[in-house]
Symmetry: C2
Subunit: 246 residues, 2 copies
Amino acid sequence: MVKKILNNTISVDCVIFGFDFEKLNVLLVDRVLVDEKSGKELFTDLTLTGNHIFEDESLEDAAARILFDLTGLENIYLKQFGAFGDPERLLKPNDQAWLKASGRDPHSRILSVGYYSLLATEKVTLKWKGRNVKWYPVSEVSELAFDHIDIFQSALEALRRELLYEPIGFELLPEKFTLSQLQKLYEVVLGVELDKRNFRKKVSRMKYLIPLDEKQKGVAHKPARLYMFSREVYERTRKEVFDFNI
Amino acid sequence: MVKKILNNTISVDCVIFGFDFEKLNVLLVDRVLVDEKSGKELFTDLTLTGNHIFEDESLEDAAARILFDLTGLENIYLKQFGAFGDPERLLKPNDQAWLKASGRDPHSRILSVGYYSLLATEKVTLKWKGRNVKWYPVSEVSELAFDHIDIFQSALEALRRELLYEPIGFELLPEKFTLSQLQKLYEVVLGVELDKRNFRKKVSRMKYLIPLDEKQKGVAHKPARLYMFSREVYERTRKEVFDFNI
DNA sequence: CTGTTAAGTGTTAAAAAAACACTTTGATTT
DNA sequence: AAATCAAAGTGTTTTTTTAACACTTAACAG
C-alpha cells in the first residue's frame, strides 16, 4: 500500500548532531542536480535532511522516520526547535531549479518544521542508499541550500540553550563515557574552556551521573573511570528551577 | 484588492498574555456555533486567537497582524514557541461541527504555528468587532477548543522558561513600574514566592533597570519609586551565560 | 625500567543565595 | 492636628557556589 503524503506545503527538516569526542558534527546531504539531457552535473550543494510528512503521521513521527531511514536508529532524542515559513525561503536560483527538476511548483511556499536530534557519531552507520550523506564539522558549515543555514543556526542555538539547562549532553555520548569526554562535549558545544577540577566538582553533585566499577580500556595512559547517565534518577530528583537571571 | 490566503493547511495561533499587577491573563475568543435554520446556539466554547496567513506574509507578520487587529498595538513582543500538527488535533465533535459550518473540510489537517505575546493588560482596549474577546486568568483556563489547551500550556511553559533567563518581564509592565510590581510579576508567572530584600538586591545588580526620579501617585501609602527597562543598556551589557546545570 | 599521556585530586578567596524584621512615608480617618 | 493604615524601603549573617590554581598517579609503549 502506498502511503499518501500529507500535502506539498509542509515538511520536516532534521538537524542531526553527532559528537565524536573531538568536535560537534552535523549530517548533511549532497544535493546534486543533473541536467536531464546532457547528464552533466549542473551544481552540487549541501542540504539538511528533510522530508514530507505522511497523512497519518505526526510531525515528530515524521522526524523519527527520517532519522531511522538514515541511521537505522530508533528512540533517538528529538526536539522541535522552530517552524520556518518565510515567503522568500526557497527563491535562490539553485533552489528554484531544484524544485522544478523534482516536479514541484517552484512558487509554492513550503513550511518546514525543524527538529534537532543528538547521537554519538561512533554508533552510527549511515545507510541512506542512493544519497550522499556525510558528517560535517559544525564549525565548517557555511553555505547550505534553501534557508537551511538559518535552520541550522537556529538548531545550534536551541541545542546550546538546552544543554545549559537540561541534561541532554548524554544523548551525544555512548552509554558509558568518561568525565573528560563529558567535559569536552560541553566545551565543544558551548564553545568555552572549563576547569577540570571545577567541572568534576560540579558534576559530582548530580546524582543521576552514575560512576561505574569499570575503566576505559586500550588507552596508552591512566585509564579513566566510566560513568553512565540514569534517566530514572534524573526524573525522580529533578526539581523546579527558580533561579532567575533577569 | 483582496489578499490571497496562503492555503488552508497552515495557520497561526497567538497566545496573548497580559499582566494586571495581580495575575497573569490570557486573551480568549468565545466560539459560538449557531444553527443555520433555527438560529439557536448549538454550543459555545473558548479558543485562542488564531488566523490564516496571507500569501506574501511571513509567519511572524501574520501573528503581528492578528495582534494588531485585536488590540491596535504594534511592535509587541512576539515569540514563536512551537508548531502543532498532530493528525488528531481537530477531531473533537465540536471542532468537526465548527469546521463544517465554516466551510472547511473537516478531514483536512491544519498545522498551527504558535506565537506568544506579552502586554500590560491596562494599556489594551480590545477591539475585535463582532467577536467576543476577553481576558481570562491563566489559572482558570481549563478546557479549550481544538488542541488549544496543549498549545496554551506549551506557551506558558515557554514563557516561564524564557522569563527565567531573559529580561522579558518588562514587556508585561507599563513603561514605568515599581519594584514590587516587578516582583509580583515574577511570583505570578513562575508560581513562587520571593523575598523582598533578596529580590531587590538581585535586581539592583542589573544595570538595565533604570531608577527614575519619579514616584507612584495616588496610592494611600508610601509611594514607590518608579523604574524603567533600558533595552540599550541591556544589549550593550548582555554577556554569554556559561552557567550550566546538567 | 623509562617516558609519555591523560586521569585524578584539594584549598582558598570571592561572589551569590537564603533567611530574617523593623522603620519610613504619604494618604486617609478621626 | 493626631492617629491609623498600607506598602515601601533597608542590612546583616550564614551557607552555598564559583573561580583560580599544580602536582601525583596509573597504564601502556618502547
